[in-house]
């Protein structure tokens, strides 16, 4: 169906009598929809609120992970640093990596996917709204469980990659790695549920006319990302189950003395771990592909190439995992094979860089904050990509791997790439989400400060690595020539931290200032994709009516027409093609629910139970089962859900022309999306 839950009004009317006969017990009554208080956030199933919660939670974890990064940099300021003990340092770098990957970059990607993707395809919500809420709560509880280890005996100390057998009880007797295991189990369930949900949403819930090849690039990249998650997360979970059996129940999956092969963990981890890298970067690629055309005033150069290179990265990402293991002793044949596959995954990545550059070529570039961050991504990611090619050369990698050169590489990819894209995306979509613009001047200072701090922090690490500084060392000695660049990197880290604080300051500053400014309107950037044709902030119902899509950048071509020789002419005023806020009463939206929160709440209790006392598992298990029971049995709607004033005409689809919001006289068409 093109439009979730809304169109089959006749069917709803038919079942109405059955519904009214059903008198559920009081506890099973659904919470009322339309609230704005804290309770509405706990019970919400609205993809927009969930997206905001993902983003806000990720920003909090960013501060935690960033604080850990600062601790690392202060410790390495000079030889024989004394801020952290060896034990504390090992926990801090493990938790820094784990936090940044699983609790910051992935969830910010999820925040954009949740908030944005349904808007970009013209959907009311995601396919499974309650599962969406469940995903968020699982992510939150997993992250909290993981970080609660700091208060309950110390964090994990095995590195984010957590190689066996160093992750065994014999070598890591504290509970840190158990927390790591349980926390990532739970966030893994969140990612998996989210992946299924978003894939179904993209494939089934697109607005009429939105074929796959008319989807915005961000939606495409979300689709690829979620497929990567769908297949990657289970591999990690398998490895984690084996590890849990080893650690908690004395199994021998990684016990070398009993004949285990420790490379099993490495293979499983990196079969997950490498697609993981791509699923962290692809959402940012999508954002940049949507932002660059807006501020270049030109369409994306080679939309099919951009899309298919993203899909190609998604496929090829499965064939390169052992390049993390070039020195592990896998043998020259495997090394050669993975060296070659790794080199050639650079091709689709390079295509993207060149297509973005060509998008800007010949444009009229407007250097707004989102544009600056987009250009930042293109340039900084290029550095990360090139250093990536140098270690696809396996013999070179035997010198570089596990040195700071690698640390430099992946920070250029994940910070200079993914994070620059995300910050640019925040600036770009902030008015759409919150109804006010982030201050542009502060935003540009923000960009330059971040660019400075980022390069000062991570560029010197290339040289540190090439001159022999190993990763994951809590200390180094004078006489190795590491002193100077470590100092530069530490200074850079503080500048980088201040740029993050400037961003947070900008949020509150702009929010205060916005009260005296006129509302931003639906389309502050003169943008291209259909999420910009609805009011800002987005009404709960998203679109009214659901637009019919006729081409890529559909909204743009409602405003502008293109002549045969590539000239652009305005055909309609923006005010005339955007949608007005309606009361939305006639639109049926999924009702809020308590149960995703309840069902998710049981999981960390099971986690603590497995670590400390198995009886707790029983309590947690009862909560989970009870939550699912309530989930299954609660009525389909909240008590206030209005069905009476359903009017088939009111949410008829429009025809994609520059017409008034409501196409009067057009009867509802059955338009099936292509693909």
């Amino acid at each position: 169906m093109a439009i979730i839950e809304a169109p089959p009004t006749e069917q709803l009317a038919l079942t109405g009598t059955v519904e009214s006969d059903y008198k559920p017990a009081g506890v099973f009554t659904r919470p009322k929809s339309g609230g704005t208080g804290w309770k509405s956030w706990l019970t919400t199933v609205d993809h927009k609120k969930i997206g905001i919660m993902y983003g806000a939670t990720a920003l909090v974890f960013l501060l935690i992970g960033g604080f850990e990064a600062i601790l690392i940099r202060v410790q390495l300021w000079s030889p024989r640093g004394t801020l952290l003990s060896a034990n504390a340092y090992n926990q801090v770098f493990t938790m820094h990596g784990t936090t940044m990957v699983f609790l910051v970059v992935m969830p910010i990607g999820a925040a954009f996917a949740n908030y944005l993707m349904p808007l970009q395809i013209g959907a009311r919500d995601v396919a499974y709204p309650r599962i969406n809420a469940y995903s968020y709560w699982m992510f939150l509880f997993g992250g909290l469980l993981l970080n609660s280890s700091w208060l309950l005996g110390g964090g994990a100390d095995g590195g984010w990659f957590n190689y066996a057998p160093n992750n065994g009880v014999l070598y890591s007797p504290s509970h840190g790695i158990d927390f790591w295991n349980m926390g990532l189990f739970i966030t893994g369930i969140a990612s998996l549920a989210g992946a299924v949900n978003l894939i179904v949403t993209v494939l089934n819930m697109r607005a009429p006319g939105m074929s796959l090849m008319r989807m915005p690039v961000f939606t495409w990249m979300t689709l690829v990302t979620q497929f990567l998650l769908l297949f990657a997360i289970p591999v990690l979970t398998v490895a984690q189950v084996l590890l849990m059996m080893d650690r908690l129940f004395d199994a021998n999956f990684f016990n070398v003395a009993k004949g285990a092969n420790p490379l099993l963990w490495e293979h499983l981890f990196w079969i997950f771990g490498h697609p993981e890298v791509y699923l962290m970067i692809l959402p940012a690629f999508g954002l940049v592909s949507d932002m660059l055309p807006v501020f270049s005033r030109k369409p994306i150069f080679g939309y099919p190439f951009i899309v298919f290179s993203g899909v190609a990265i998604g496929f090829m990402g499965w064939g390169v995992w052992a390049h993390h293991m070039f020195v592990s002793g896998i043998g020259p044949i495997s090394v050669t094979a993975f060296s070659l596959t790794t080199m050639f995954i650079a091709v689709p990545t390079g295509v993207k860089i060149l297509n973005w550059t060509a998008t800007m070529w010949g444009g009229k570039l407007r250097f707004t904050t989102p544009m600056l961050f987009s250009i930042g991504l293109v340039t900084m990611f290029t550095i990360g990509g090139l250093s990536g090619v140098t270690h696809s050369v396996a013999p070179a990698d035997t010198q570089q791997t596990d040195t700071y050169y690698i640390v430099a590489h992946f920070h250029y990819v994940l910070f200079g790439g993914a994070f620059f894209g995300f910050i640019g995306g925040f600036y770009f979509y902030w008015p759409k989400v919150f109804g006010y613009m982030l201050n542009e001047k502060l935003g540009k200072y923000n960009f330059w400060l971040m660019l400075l701090g980022f390069n000062l922090t991570f560029a010197p690490m290339h040289i540190l690595g090439l001159q022999g500084m190993s990763r994951r060392i809590y200390t180094y000695d004078a006489g190795y020539g590491f002193d100077l660049w470590n100092k530069v990197a530490t200074i850079g880290a503080f500048i980088l931290a201040s740029s993050v604080f400037l961003f947070i300051f900008n949020i509150f500053y702009s929010r205060a200032k916005a009260k005296s400014l006129p509302p931003v309107g639906p389309d502050p950037w003169d943008a291209r994709t259909i999420e910009w044709m609805i009011p800002s902030p987005v009404p709960e119902y998203n679109f009214d009516p659901i637009p019919t899509v006729t081409r890529v950048d559909d909204f743009w071509y409602r405003k502008y027409g293109e002549t045969k020789d590539g000239k652009l002419v305005r055909i309609a005023a923006t005010e005339d093609v955007v949608q007005q806020r309606s009361d939305g009463k006639h639109i049926h939206l999924p009702s809020p629910s308590y149960w995703p929160l309840v069902a998710a709440f049981g999981m960390p209790i099971i986690g603590y139970g497995l670590i400390f006392n198995l009886w707790l598992c029983l309590i947690g298990g009862i909560i989970v089962v009870g939550g699912l029971f309530g989930w299954a049995l609660e009525p389909p709607d909240d008590p206030d859900a209005a069905h009476a004033d359903h009017d088939p005409v009111a949410h008829g689809s429009d025809d994609g022309s520059a017409a008034e919001g409501d196409t009067v006289g057009v009867t509802e068409k059955e338009v099936e999306p292509v693909g």
């Binding site: 060896a86 090992n90 095995g158 057998p165 160093n166 070598y171 890591s172 092969n261 420790p262 490379l263 270049s296 369409p299 190439f305 020195v327 592990s328 002793g329 090394v335 070659l340 050639f344 091709v347 060149l354 550059t357 060509a358 800007m360 070529w361 009229k364 570039l365 407007r366 707004t368 340039t379 290029t382 550095i383 090139l386 090619v389 050369v393 013999p395 070179a396 035997t398 010198q399 542009e440 540009k444 200072y445 400075l452 000062l456 560029a459 290339h462 040289i463 090439l466 001159q467 022999g468 060392i473 809590y474 000695d477 004078a478 006489g479 190795y480 530069v488 502008y560 293109e562 652009l568």
Partner: protein
């Protein structure tokens, strides 16, 4: 949106200038290799040279691409910027793509990479060629030091009576290939002497080959590069390449034991202490090696460094401490380096079984280590990983050091 702010422009230009300067300084720094014992760009043997021959052109290609992309982006942002004179309703030409161009820039990087791939495969093949007359050495990692076993008679067994077991420091003849086999007694470590070759993980239960050869006599340093737990940072290694004749003398000396009691009374008392406390984990050939063959060592890795020829090594405690002062401490004209490990301590005559120059022995570090190993190199001695604090008295430490000084 096009309102200009002078402050912002100045700030942007300053940041841009700093970043460009930084990149230039880093490229310059990449070629400053003095005083950087772990530098990967200073090959000292055929394998590292082979890697270098591949790496330099790859870096050059990457550099060209880097300059090209950066230059293109900078040019575009300058050339196609919106100026205040521009009509906001005037649009650039709407180009949706050029298939030919895009196919071109898909094929071009593929071709460049194909060239890189040919060189890579050739180098991998070369690096894995077997050397028939190589000296066989098994390198075993454990938390947090390295053990070396030499199969001198080539019977494939590293524990025969004609074989050598040593620790911390690997002695090799310059100009002769060494076939190293890495393995581990506990967790995964990685053996890396950047001057001689790339790294190879030491994985428990797995034996992996690595070729080493030093062109010239000298000391080549390394650092464990696979995170191996608490004291990963303090797990270093050292390859000492010597002239072939000196190597033969070293081998002859290494095969000897220390059955005879030392003549010095203090050293003799130290030997008693060794047998009472240290001999539970450490071996000295001729003293407790027969007994240790049947004993259960209470260590997770099951093994502690062999001390038979301790004084022939330049470093101890996982190569983080110098066993000898790098310069003559009695010479007032030379100042000791700020760090104890800045120079590789030279065992001098002791290396090949000659007398130990006790005036050069770094007693300060040796005594501090015996006093409380955990303070110097964090460990989990209570969990059988690392050396415990034995609560030795100062007199015992003095006697032990006197005894250790006889282990040439």
């Amino acid at each position: 949106m096009s309102r200009r702010s002078t402050g912002l422009r100045i700030f942007g230009v300053i940041v841009f200038a700093i970043v460009v300067t930084l990149f230039a300084a880093l490229i310059y720094a990449a070629f400053q290799n003095d005083g950087k014992p772990l530098d990967t760009f200073v090959p000292k043997g055929p394998s590292s040279q082979e890697i270098q021959n591949l790496v330099l052109p790859v870096f050059a290609v990457a550099g060209v691409v880097f300059v090209g992309v950066m230059g293109a982006v900078l040019f575009i942002t300058w050339k196609f910027r919106t100026t205040s004179e521009d009509d906001p309703e005037e649009f650039p030409e709407q180009i949706h793509g050029r298939t030919g161009l895009e196919i071109g820039w898909t094929i071009l990087p593929a071709l460049i990479l194909a060239g890189v791939a040919v060189g890579t495969v050739a180098t991998i093949i070369n690096l894995n060629k077997k050397e028939p007359d190589a000296i066989q050495v098994q390198v075993a990692g454990q938390q947090w030091w390295w053990q070396y076993k030499y199969d001198l008679n080539g019977d494939g067994n590293f524990d025969g009576p004609e074989d050598i077991t040593t620790a911390t420091e690997m002695v090799v003849p310059a100009g002769r290939p060494i076939q190293v086999t890495t393995t581990s007694n506990d967790v995964i470590h990685s053996f890396w002497i950047p001057g001689l070759n790339g790294k190879k993980d030491a994985v428990p239960g797995i034996r992996s080959p690595l070729k080493l050869e030093a062109d010239e006599p000298g000391v080549y340093r390394g650092q464990c590069t696979e995170y191996c737990g608490l004291s990963h940072a303090n797990m270093r290694m050292l390859v000492r390449a010597v002239e072939p004749g000196e190597y033969d003398t070293w081998v002859t000396n290494q095969l000897k034991g220390h059955a005879a009691d030392p003549t010095d009374a203090k050293a003799l008392a130290g030997k008693t202490t060794f047998k009472a406390l240290c001999a539970q984990c450490h071996v000295i050939k001729g003293v407790n090696d027969e007994k240790m063959k049947t004993a259960t060592v209470p260590l997770t890795a099951g093994v502690a460094p062999d001390l038979t020829h301790l004084m022939t090594r330049g470093t101890f405690a996982g190569s983080i401490l110098n066993l000898y002062d790098p310069v003559d401490p009695n010479d007032p004209s030379v100042t000791l380096p700020a760090s104890d490990v800045a120079a590789a301590g030279d065992p001098g005559a002791a290396l090949t079984g000659g007398t130990v120059d006790t005036s050069r022995v770094n007693r300060v570090s040796l005594e501090a280590w015996l006093r409380n190993p955990n303070a110097i190199k964090p460990n989990y001695a209570q969990g059988g990983r690392g050396m415990p604090n034995l609560g030795l008295t100062e007199a015992q430490i003095d006697e032990l050091v006197a005894y250790l000084e006889t282990l040439n």
